[in-house]
Subunit: 467 residues, 2 copies
């Protein structure tokens, strides 16, 4: 067999033990909060039927879906089909359906919609589910953008109540606080407000152009937005009317008051404002803070599918794109034949959260620990001496191992160091005779003498103390 | 958009909330034991380069690998290549490398070998890793056999010590006991013993034929094995010499003694026996039981790659194929250019363990629980009343939710029933006035009166008590 230089596909990653511990810490923290709010986990297959995914993400999205080649003699099958069709010339477009009928999950939302419809008879509405699984996109890889990455979603379908939106605000607050973030903003908007504004200007058909333009306020400033609005078919007069909305400032209450004044003749717009107000009221009724919730009508993500609330979360501690987002969508399951089911959901950007915690040094030290205790191994006699002690520690729930064969002390301490094992139990002939073992603290270098039969108590205490 | 009847590819599965809780229970139990023994988690990408996987699983295996179609205009690229090669006729075999360079992980072992070689400068040997991830095989789906399923592996590379083998016996014992299994057998064999036997008979080149045949003893009996051995090139005289080995009975010690007598002139065979003995001695030194460890020289799984110990685990409580297996392999990483690294590993069959626990009713009742408490919702006043109480429960770590909008009692109780929520807090006008809330136990139907401000204490106690 020829030797292959080991490599992985571009845009994909291996995760080392240290990275896994940190990633699991993030996922577990978020999962715990989801569960506390009554969300239940599901998983869907990595591969979906190609026709389940095609057409759901726009033409660009379709191109970015990874397709799986049919098994068996796919070419013979394709040729058979081609003959039937009168042997036209192949192209990637015509060949694709002949050689591929499965594809890798592109997000968690479409598979969730498919799940809800397929299992509608087993599901009790409202159905609150969360899902933490990888997705795949054939995007050009770049810093922070991968071809395989995890999504971490919670959605509820079958409930119109805005309590759900309020609870998502609380979920963001609780999960991000539990991860150690202190200063973050949960931005909230409502699609109906954007519709109302476009309506007031008399250009409801340009709502997407309008929001795409004002979404860039942060980056390009008012002049940039003005320029783009002109390019996209708005007049100077339109922009004059838009300005107070674009430049909205002050507290949430004052922003809402100003919007009400502007939107007074738009029923849709006023409905959006009422929804926004009720969500904020619910958050207050939960006796949760609203100081990190910010009404931001320039927020326009997912405008293609969101129909009510729109969320986006940013950390203010390091420069970073959004670390979460979501919104309400109507009729998600319509594409699979189940009409009229409303849903609302949010997502955590786990990879970005990872980078934020790393930069702020917020990963708990304990998350980098695996094995707590290493028993040294100098000869077979010492090895035999160690095994029952090792077993005892493990039976007390303490992660422990013995260096698997006799080796020099330096090598064994190096192993403990590399693996960040905090304690090494040294067993030499003196220790075996006296029954007094030497326990080396790898951080301080100090050595303690501990009786063999008290070893498990010693580590139970240090472990409980979180040392 | 045309309506699509929702379906998933054959051989794949959705996992419902209830299944997820049970699956997570199995994975978490095994993970906890792996960690306690010093194993660290890694993850590798779903897609590997096709040439990383090709040729590692035999010709049959290669066919079962799911290949991913290249992105972009794959056909144009294939045509370009074809022109260069002088426009030969396409076949699936020639087209494949032109349109696919990535494939889905087929097992966790080859990606692990690739990982070790790629990251050899960051890894401290011995490297003890575990990995719990799905793999994909284009096998014909049938009962209990899926095209996407999880593997749950632990391996150590870079240590020849048989302590590792002994610890794997302990890991099986501990993990399976923790899952509630009471009667299971860890079968152990050694490739060197099989080699020794084939050597003694004078047909070392027929070792695979020999083991394939005697592996079937359980199913076809001695006559069946004899017939197969004759077909596979053994003589009556050979079979006479094999018989005592095939029909080996008694304790492990007596089996070992008999084998020693047979293998007295085979150095390799005796080495295998010595290894077996040392592994069993280590298990005893750990003061762990050896009564469920059974020497079984008809065990021959993975003979293509195992070079030392071979493991297989069976439950004796229900009829079921093996629920675990593994062994020692030399030079796993050789295919990626890193020679001479020995490894030993085991695997848990999570899907089968799931079926066993299900059949024996061993899933803890608590694992089916998600939300502990549901607050009823009869009107906006009661809803407002509930929110701070709900928040308090959650802040105490109790999973709780409020029915998201006012609804009839029956509907809300049905929701609690379907979701297996054990308690419903009923808040009507009387309750709000008196501050004495009704707590309905959904299992017994009983109702208790609890003061609003003592609600969290009430549930903290019942939850701690595991009710």
């Amino acid at each position: 067999m020829a030797t292959i230089k080991p490599a992985i596909p571009k845009g994909t990653r291996d995760f080392s033990p240290e990275e896994m511990v940190k990633r699991n810490y993030i996922f577990d923290t978020i999962r715990t909060v989801f569960k506390k709010y009554g969300y239940q986990e599901i998983q869907t297959p990595t591969m979906e039927n190609l026709d389940t995914l095609t057409g759901k993400y726009g033409d660009e999205g379709d191109k970015l879906i990874f397709k799986v080649l049919n098994s068996g003699d796919f070419w013979a099958e394709a040729e058979r089909r081609n003959q039937k069709a009168g042997n036209p010339e192949w192209s990637s477009k015509t060949l694709l359906p002949a050689v591929s009928e499965k594809a890798l999950r592109y997000d968690l939302t479409v598979p969730f919609a498919r799940y809800v419809v397929m299992h509608q008879n087993d599901i009790t509405l409202p159905f609150k589910r969360f899902q933490v699984q990888p997705v795949w996109r054939a995007d050009r890889p770049q810093k922070g953008r991968y071809r395989e990455f995890y999504q971490c979603d919670a959605d509820v379908v079958g409930s119109e109540s805005l309590l759900n939106e309020a609870e998502f605000v609380l979920i963001y607050q609780e999960a991000l606080s539990n991860l150690g973030l202190k200063d973050f903003t949960i931005k909230i908007n409502n699609r109906k407000i954007l519709s109302g504004i476009a309506e007031i200007i008399g250009k409801p058909e340009l709502i997407v152009d309008m929001t795409v333009a004002i979404d860039k306020l942060d980056k390009v400033g008012l002049n940039g937005v003005t320029k783009e609005l002109l390019e996209r078919g708005f007049t100077e007069a339109d922009i004059e009317r838009l300005k107070p909305v674009i430049l909205l400032e002050g507290t949430n209450g004052s922003k809402i008051d100003q919007l009400k004044a502007v939107l007074t003749s738009s029923e849709t717009g006023l409905k959006g404002i009422a929804e926004l107000e009720l969500i904020l009221e619910y958050v207050s009724l939960f006796e949760s803070q609203t100081s990190n919730v910010e009404v931001d009508i320039t927020l326009a993500r997912g405008l293609n599918y969101y129909t009510g609330a729109i969320f986006e979360v940013k950390t203010n501690e390091v420069p970073m794109g959004s670390i979460g987002g979501g919104g309400r969508y109507d009729d998600l399951t319509g594409m699979f034949g189940l009409k009229g089911l409303t849903g609302v959901g949010i997502s955590f950007g786990a990879d970005r959260i990872y980078d934020v915690l790393q930069e702020l040094d917020l990963f708990p030290e304990r998350t980098s620990l695996t094995t707590q205790v290493l028993f040294s191994n100098f000869d077979t006699e010492a090895e035999k001496f160690a095994l029952p002690l090792l077993r005892k520690l493990r039976s007390e729930g303490i992660s422990a191992e013995v260096y698997p064969s006799p080796a020099r002390l330096k090598k064994q301490l190096g192993y403990a160091d590399d693996k960040k094992i905090p304690y090494v139990v040294l067993i030499g002939s003196e220790e075996m005779q006296s029954g007094l073992l030497s326990v080396k603290n790898m951080k301080t270098g100090e050595q303690a003498k501990v009786r063999a039969e008290q070893l498990f108590m010693y580590f139970k205490q240090t472990t409980d103390a979180g040392v």
